[in-house]
Every structure is written in structure tokens, then in C-alpha cells.
């Protein structure tokens, strides 16, 4: 009795409740996708052959893991953070040797009993721990560029390996750590530059290149005219403005086409283009042209189109539980994993989606509140890492299903089917809860 009290003492029950609700919603969503009216769902559930029964088993395993984590001491994570990170990176490297090819990315390690482990999922936790450990070191002064570079390398090393494994979506998630670093004092300029770069790419795709160049030039001239008093006194402003203008025009005229035609593969470019409602001509793509002499085929956005149809057909109140024809007809590919949100949108409509998003929003804001009440830098950095990772996953996944963002293949945390994903998010969240429970004891 006293043991149980000790575990639950100081643990944030709100987060646990939110976690439990979301996992339950996830299983429900998978059930909606897998359900067939002619089969007895009870027997197929107990048979354990369907995804929802497997996810249910995973949830059980996660409950065990969560209990296990809550039983440990929070010092364990600080102590082993670097070791975990090294282990994680080694595991990711091991995939090059042991890797199994699933859906075109060689990022899985086959385990016993037909289960597969995706190290890049687990490595997110280790990276978060390692970053927290590095930033909380006594010697680290994050205002120094050197520390910032080291932190950047810690975050992006798994991303680079991930890209080499053709798992671009996951690599994107590692950029979420910049949000954490921003909280810890990274200059906002980095974020602004990153954001501007994305905005510039988007506008390059949306607006005619010549028109965009003119717009940028006019903006620069207007800015210079407005600040003519200042830059007469301080020439650096003039210089900087001209530099930015040059960089912007250079990027939109040369860098963006270069990236799409020479760096990205045809299908990736086409996905980005289709997210902006444009067609990408694969004939321009040097990389796919090099690979095969066949005329590069224009890949269509079937997945996203079907997903949009599913969500759009939901209307305000939805078509009702198990009544969605898009979901029942399996029109949306990968609907138990990447496009799980589509089944939710179809069945419960705008009202359901709003409630669902509010739930996630609540979770994220709760986690931020937890982060801010930490006394140790380690716990705070780790908490922000959890928030950022979750946020990136949610934002990218839902934007993808809604056709706002090219589909990179990112799961919806706690909802999507998949053991690796569910277990890693469980560990991620429950380590935070363990750290949070001990916030009074740990001073550093």
C-alpha cells in the first residue's frame, strides 16, 4: 500500500488521463478502419489477428512499461542519458546491416515474433535525454556558439542517419529540438531564418518566379526608404538589407529549383508541389532521370486526395461511427497508420475533429506547464523536447492528411497503429512524468 502511494505520489494524473483517453481513441479509430460488417468483431478482437487487437496488446505492454518507468528513480535517466544516446545511434547504424526493408525505408530491425523495431523512433527519446543532459551540464554556457553547435550536432546526427535510410519524415521530427533550444536561449534569428526559408520556398511554388523577384525587390526598396534615416548613420543596415534581398532572390531563382530538380527525388518533389496544388514535371528531375531511362511518371496525390475526401465528407457532425464509406471501403491507403486522422474526420466530422484537437492541445499546454514548473534544467529541457516532438508529429501528420503539407510519413502520436510508435511515445511521456514527480527532490 505504501509502495503504491509512493509511485503515484507527485505524478501528474491529468497527463495520465489524457494519455489513456488518446490511446483509447486510437484503438477505436483503428477499429473503425478494420471493421467489417460481415465478420463478428468480438471474435476477431479476441483472435488477436486484427490491428486493433494488436494495438490493444501494445497498449497493455505500454501500461507495463509505464509502471516500470514510474517505479525507477529519475536519477537513472540523467545518469544514463549519454550512454542511451550512443546506444541509440549505434542501433540506427546497425540498421544498415540488420535492416529490413518495410515500405521502401530500410530503417527497421526485425525482432522475435514477427515484430519490428524502428530505432529512429526510440532514438528520439535518447536524443531528448542527451540534449537535456548536455544543456544542464554545469560547464555548458548555451549563449556560446560552440555549445549551440554541439547541441545542434546532437539533435541532427540521428536525422542525418535517418535521411540516409530514406526515412525523411522522421528526420523532420528531429528539427523539433530547435524549438527546445529556442526556449533555452538560442537566438530567435535561427527560427526566423528557418521559417523565412520555408515561406520563401512556399511562395516560390505559389507565385510566378519573376513576379516574386519583383515583389522582393519592391519590398527591399520600400524598407530602405522607410529606414533611410537609420542607414545613413549606420551603413550595416543597408548592407544587411541588400544581402538579405540578394539571398532571397538567389534562393527563389536558383536554389529552390536546384533543390527540387537535383537534390530531391521525383516523387518527393511531386508531393511538395501537390501540397501547394501544383503539378511537378518529373522530366526536369535529374535524379530520377539518372536512375532510369524511362520517362519519369507523374505520381498522383491519390493518398491525400482520398484522405481529403474522407475528411471532407464528414461534414459538421460526421457520418457516424462505422458509417464512413471511405473508411469502410479502404479508399485511404495506410489508414491505420499515417492517415488515421481521416477515419476520425469522416466518422465524427468537424465537431469530432475539434474535440480531438482540443484534447491534444490540452495535453501539449499541460506539458508546457509541467516544463515551466521544473527546477532542474535537465527536466525542463527534456519536457520541452517531449512537447516539441509531440507537436511536430501532430502538426505534420494532420497537415498531411488535410493536404496542407507534403506527406512525409509521420505517425499521429498515441493514435496511429504501430508498436514502435506507441511504445516510444509512452516512454517519452512517462519519463517526463517520473522526472516531474521528483521535481521537488532534484535541485540541479
Amino acid at each position: 500500500m505504501s509502495q503504491k502511494n509512493k509511485i503515484s505520489h507527485g505524478v501528474d494524473t491529468t497527463v495520465i488521463w489524457l494519455y489513456a483517453i488518446l490511446v483509447a481513441v486510437g484503438i477505436l479509430c483503428i477499429f473503425m478502419v478494420e471493421y467489417r460488417s460481415d465478420a463478428n468483431w468480438m471474435s476477431s478482437f479476441l483472435g488477436g489477428k486484427t490491428s486493433y487487437s494488436k494495438q490493444f496488446i501494445f497498449a497493455g505492454i505500454c501500461a507495463l512499461i509505464a509502471t516500470f518507468i514510474l517505479l525507477t528513480d529519475s536519477k537513472l535517466f540523467t545518469a544514463f542519458a549519454n550512454l542511451f544516446y550512443v546506444f541509440g545511434v549505434l542501433l540506427m547504424l546497425a540498421t544498415f546491416v540488420l535492416g529490413k526493408n518495410i515500405n521502401g525505408s530500410k530503417s527497421w530491425i526485425p525482432l522475435f515474433g514477427g515484430f519490428n523495431l524502428q530505432p529512429v523512433e526510440i532514438c528520439k527519446i535518447f536524443t531528448a535525454l542527451a540534449l537535456a543532459k548536455f544543456l544542464s551540464r554545469q560547464e555548458t554556457d548555451f549563449r556560446k556558439l560552440k555549445s549551440q553547435v554541439v547541441a545542434g550536432i546532437i539533435c541532427l546526427l540521428p536525422a542525418v542517419i535517418s535521411i540516409l535510410q530514406h526515412e525523411t519524415g522522421m528526420a523532420l521530427v528531429y528539427f523539433s529540438f530547435f524549438l527546445v533550444m529556442f526556449r533555452e536561449g538560442l537566438s530567435p534569428v535561427v527560427l526566423i531564418i528557418g521559417f523565412s526559408f520555408v515561406a520563401l520556398i512556399a511562395s516560390t511554388l505559389l507565385v510566378d518566379p519573376d513576379t516574386l523577384a519583383i515583389i522582393l525587390s519592391v519590398a527591399a526598396v520600400v524598407f530602405l526608404y522607410a529606414t533611410r534615416r537609420q542607414w545613413r548613420r549606420k551603413k550595416s543596415i543597408l548592407l544587411l538589407t541588400i544581402l538579405i534581398w540578394g539571398a532571397a532572390v538567389g534562393i527563389q531563382r536558383f536554389a529552390v529549383p536546384f533543390i527540387f530538380n537535383n537534390v530531391l527525388e521525383c516523387y518527393q518533389s511531386a508531393r511538395v508541389y501537390s501540397a501547394f496544388g501544383k503539378d511537378y514535371d518529373c522530366g526536369l528531375n535529374k535524379r530520377s532521370a539518372k536512375k532510369s531511362d524511362k520517362a519519369p511518371r507523374k505520381p498522383d496525390d491519390y493518398n491525400v486526395r482520398q484522405s481529403k475526401i474522407a475528411i471532407g465528407s464528414g461534414g459538421f457532425w460526421g457520418r457516424g461511427f462505422l458509417k464512413g464509406t471511405q473508411t469502410r471501403g479502404k479508399y485511404v491507403p495506410a489508414q491505420t497508420t499515417d492517415f488515421i486522422f481521416a477515419s476520425l474526420g469522416e466518422a465524427f466530422g468537424f465537431a469530432g475533429c475539434f474535440a480531438f484537437l482540443a484534447l491534444f492541445m490540452f495535453l501539449l499546454f499541460r506539458l508546457i506547464a509541467i516544463a515551466e514548473r521544473q527546477r532542474s534544467t535537465f527536466s525542463r529541457v527534456y519536457a520541452y523536447s517531449v512537447v516539441s516532438i509531440l507537436f511536430f508529429h501532430i502538426a505534420f501528420n494532420i497537415c498531411m492528411t488535410l493536404g496542407l503539407f507534403p506527406s512525409p510519413g509521420i505517425t499521429l502520436p498515441l493514435i496511429s497503429y504501430g508498436g514502435s510508435s506507441l511504445v516510444s511515445f509512452t516512454i517519452l511521456i512517462f519519463i517526463l512524468l517520473r522526472l516531474d514527480a521528483d521535481r521537488q527532490m532534484v535541485l540541479r
Binding site: 460488417s37 471532407g312 465528407s313 459538421f316 464509406t325 471501403g329 474526420g345 468537424f350 475533429c353 488535410l402
Partner: protein
Amino acid sequence: MSVFNQSRSRVIQIILAAVFVIILLQLVNLQIFSSQYKMAAENNAIFRKIIYPDRGIIFDRKKKPLLENAISFDLVVTPSEARNTDTAALCAILNIDTAEYKKRMRDAIFKNTSVKPSVFEPLLSPETYAKLYENMYKFPGYMLNQRSVRSYPYNTAGQLLGYIAEVDTSFLRKHRSEGYEMGDYAGMSGLERTYESVLMGQRGIKRFVRDNKSRIQGPYENGLFDTVAIAGRNLYTSIDVEVQQLAEKLLQNKIGSAVAINPRTGGIIAMASSPSYNPNVLTGNARRKNWGRMIMDTAKPMYNRAIKGQYPPGSTFKPLGALVALDQGLITPSWGIGCGGGYAACGSVYVRCEHKNPGHAANLRLALANSCNSYFSDIFRKVIDNPKMASRADGYLKWKAYMNAFGLGRRLEVDLPSEDKANIPDTSKYNRIYGARRWNSCTILTLGIGQDQMTATPVQMANLMCIIANKGFYFPPHFVDSIEQETTADTSLLGKYREKHIVTNISDSAYKAVNDGMHDVTIYGTASAIKIPGVEYCAKTGTAQNPHGKNHSLFVAFAPKDNPRIAIAVVVENGGYGSVAAGPIAGFMMEKYLNDTISTAGLARVEELSNRNLIPSAIKQWYYRKDSLRAAKLRLEEEEERLERLERERREKEIEKGNNTEAQLEPGSKPVGEKDTTRKLLPKQAILPATDPKKKNLKNRA
């Protein structure tokens, strides 16, 4: 340290909130303001299955079904589920080889994907069906699908009933507003076509939910939007199936037509056109085999001569000629002429008469009985040169108006598609031939005896008999008396057949004179050899001159003399005298209809008549040539097959030999192998030129 940079927590919160707002805006856009997605989802997922109703049945006047809906079965395969099929057993039952099996499987997958069922073998024969049914357990992934086809228990009336076939694109274009879809069956000719809207019934639609591979998942909304199929309604016709069968039998080995109408109602009792066909050869899987052959047949078995054949009516026209003259008051029944074997009043145009004895045309009755050409030529001239008329052309136009009133030279609107109106020439036609005002009653004299430019279809001739039998009225000839559960739309469809048409105001005495004359025809006149046991009847024979060959034999009649119940017209092309070929056919048909049976003596005559071959020699030759061609082709194919078999055997032997030598030789010695192949090819080339020219010749001749 922890408070350091705390304001940035706000910034992060704002970023989070902003992204969520963007997501919500897109959700609002997709779910609330875009309506096209709902429709797109329905187009994706809802599968409309058409439930075909049973077509209506067509009954004869005694409620015997002329056609029925038989159930046929298609063998249907879902390729993805047919992995463990006993292919050999299936091939043995269907009588195909494995290559054909693979080809059909490939086609099925190509046309319809491997997860959807496609027809593997349509319209199985009953034997094949029975064999398959017993062995279905060996063929997973295969199904026997029910399908409704027409069958004709009496093997008769093919041209009248018509046939149904799958609609094609041109049909769909023509009948766009009628809701046909690809894959539907529709009546293409005959009654099936005319009464399509009645017979087809109303299709039902069931909605199903289907998945991304078009597999059915279950009913949509539990069948809330489904409509039920309504069966087609039955047609009750005036056809007497036994008379129809008899007519077809009697017209066998002849080219011609017979039409029998009930004069009281206008209901057609029988309508035969020869050569005809057994309607069962155009249903089910037999259709594919026979259709092409029938279309190519030079004697046109699909062509309904009863409504499309145009024949000069010849002497059968004479009763009408008499009625016209009587009605105009130009003659009286007792008026007569002296005929000495021909009509010479026109000088250049001399009309010969079969009779020379004086007094054979002393009055109308005698003239009709003896079919005196002179008499009717004369009264025709009287009509054209009618002194009451302003001009000859007016006289002619008046005569033409009589013809049209009696149903000649215009469509009778029989309830079959593509009826012909035959021809009563207009004055413009004669103006064109002779020049305006340069023709007179003499130039067109033979119109008076049913020759010249005038033609009539057998149904028009039969209808004319109805008018004479009824003494001045008729109902338009038709088949369908009533429709099951008649609606107002049907009533308007049938209304025109229930309307009594009164033809001019010819007096009863005029009709009586004509009827008496026609009765005499059967007593001592041209038809005296043809008797119906226990029935007095009226008739008129006709022998129409035919510029292309032997005279056409015609016969019109109605029976009994008083209160007639059947009016009939028979034409036998190239049959000679009317009383020889056409007469007996009409006689037996009337006997069958009136007495319900044929006397034993008559039955032998029926057999004899039906075996009598009157098909013109040109057509006989065509058949002969086609048959011998087919035989030659068959022989050629056999010969080719034999050669091929020999060739194959030789090749196999050579390959065996080649293998042996190769085994002995060094592996690098390729030239030997190459030589081998050229040698193998040679004999085939040597054979081909020998057979090719022959083949070409045959094709040219064909």
C-alpha cells in the same frame, strides 16, 4: 536559471496555437464549406446494382405462352479466389484446352481485375450446367450465376415476336431518355421492340458499399434507398399458335407469306413469312453461332414479307375494282360485257382473258367467279374516265383515294416495327413516266387487274378482305388485344387498334354482289378445288405477272360466307396459279382456325404441300454453292491440320535427334543448331504456297 528566457514559453505557446488554428481553418474549409467531398465519397463507395425484372410473357389467343423466360446460367469466376481449382477437370467439362483456359483467365483479369467476378463461360447448355453443378466443389472461386433468357416452347413466330439483345452504343444514343444502361437487354425487333416499354418492366436498384477494389462490403444504409424491380407485364395477342405453326409449315420450301386476320376485331390470327426461322436459334449461346449466318442468307429469313414484301395483287384486286365502280354508280351488279378472250378497246394495249366462252362476264357475279380480265379492265377505264370528273387525272386521283381508304398504298400501322406502305402510284409518277397529260386510262389499263405499278403487302391484302367481309369497316390489323394491368398509357398505345374505321359509304347491295361473286369463285370458279369441310367461304385467286420469273401465286379469302371470322391473304413467290400454290395454304389455315382441326385426308395434303419446293432456282443455287463452299473449306482445314500434325511429328523427331547430336558435340558448336532451325522452317514454307492460292480462289468466289 529556471526563470531565464521564461517569456519564450509564451512564444512557443503562440506558435502551437497558431498551427492548431491553421489546422482548424483547413478543417472548416474541408468539412463545412466544401460540398464536393461528400459527393466524391459517394461516387467512390456506392455501387448501384441493377436488379433486372422478368420480362413480360406474350400469350396467344388461347393463353398459350408464345415465349417464356427460361433460366440460363453463366459460369462466373473471381480469379483471385480461383487458385486451387482443378483446372483439368474444368477444362474437360467445358471442352476447352488449358491454353484457352489461361487465355480466358488473362482476359478476365485484364477486363475486370482479379478480385471482381467475370463471366468465364456465358449461357451454359443444360448438360454442361448439370456436369458443372455436380463438380462445383472442385472449383473454388467459380460460381454459377442465374440469368434470364427467352425460350420459345412452340418454336414459332420468330419474326413476329422479334428478339432481345444487349443494347449497343447507337441504341443508347437513340433512346437516351429511357434510362437504358450498358449491359441492358432490350427488344430489337418484332413485338419485343414495339411493346418494349410494357415488357421490360421496371428495373430495381440496390445500393451497396464497395471498397477500394470494388468488392461489395454490404448494403448501403441497410437498403433505405433501394427500389424494387417490377416485373414486365404480359401481352395477350390474337395469334393462334396452331394456325401460325400450320402457316409456317405450309410455307416451308417456298418463299412467300400468309396473313390471317379476325375481321371483327382486326386481331391478326397468324402472320407467316417464309423462309422463317426457329426463334430458339437466336437465344442464349446459340445466337452467336446463328446470327451471322442468318444475316448473310440471300433468302433473308429475318425479313418479314407479310409487312414488308410488295407484290402486285393481280386478280385479287378485282373485288375492290368492282366495289369502286359500283360505289360511283358506273355499273350495277347486273351490268355485263361480252368477252371474247381479251380486251382490245385500247388498241395498243391488249389484255388477254383466260376465258373465251360467251357470257362468262354477263354480270358482276359471273365476271368475278371467272376472273374476267376484260370486264375489270373495262370498269377500271370507266372509273378513270368518269364523266362526272373534270379530268382523267381527277378520275385517277379519286380512284387512288379509294385505294388509300381501303388501306392500300399506306401504312396500316400494324404493331410491328418497319412496316412497308407498298405502292399506289401518284399522278406525278405517271407524269414522270409518260409525261404530263400524255397518259390515259389505256396506258395504265392493267391497274384494273392489279398489275402495272401498284403493289400491296400481304397484310394490306388481308385487311382488304376484312373490309369486304365486314361490308365496309375494319379495325387496323394488330397482334396485341390487351395488356396485363392496362394503364392509361397502354390504352393510348392500343387505342388506335380499337377504333372502327368505316370505309366510304358503299351500299350493302354492292358488297353483297361482290361477296356473291367471291362465293361463286369457290363453287365453280378458280378456287373450286379448294374446300373447307362444312364451311361456305368467299375467295379470289390471283396470278400476278412477275418480270423476274415465274408468276406469283396469290390467294385472298374470308370465311365463313356469312358472319366471317377469318380473312386471309397468301402469297407464294413464283408459285404459279393462285389456286395451285397459295390457295390450298389459305384453305387449310381457314379450316384449322374454323374447325380447330384438319380432316385426315387434309393432313396428308398438308404434308405434301409443305414438302413441295417452289424456291426459285437462283436461290437454290446460292444455297448449293454456299454448302459446297463450306464443305470445301472444311476439307481444306482438315488437310491443313493433317499436314501440320505430320510436320509437328517430324519436328519432334528432329528435336530428339538434335538433342542427341548436341549431347555428343562440344558445347561451343553452335552452327549446327542454327542450321537445324532453318531446316525445320523449310517444309512449312514449301507447303504454304501450295495451299494459299486455293484458299484465295475460294474466298473470291465466296
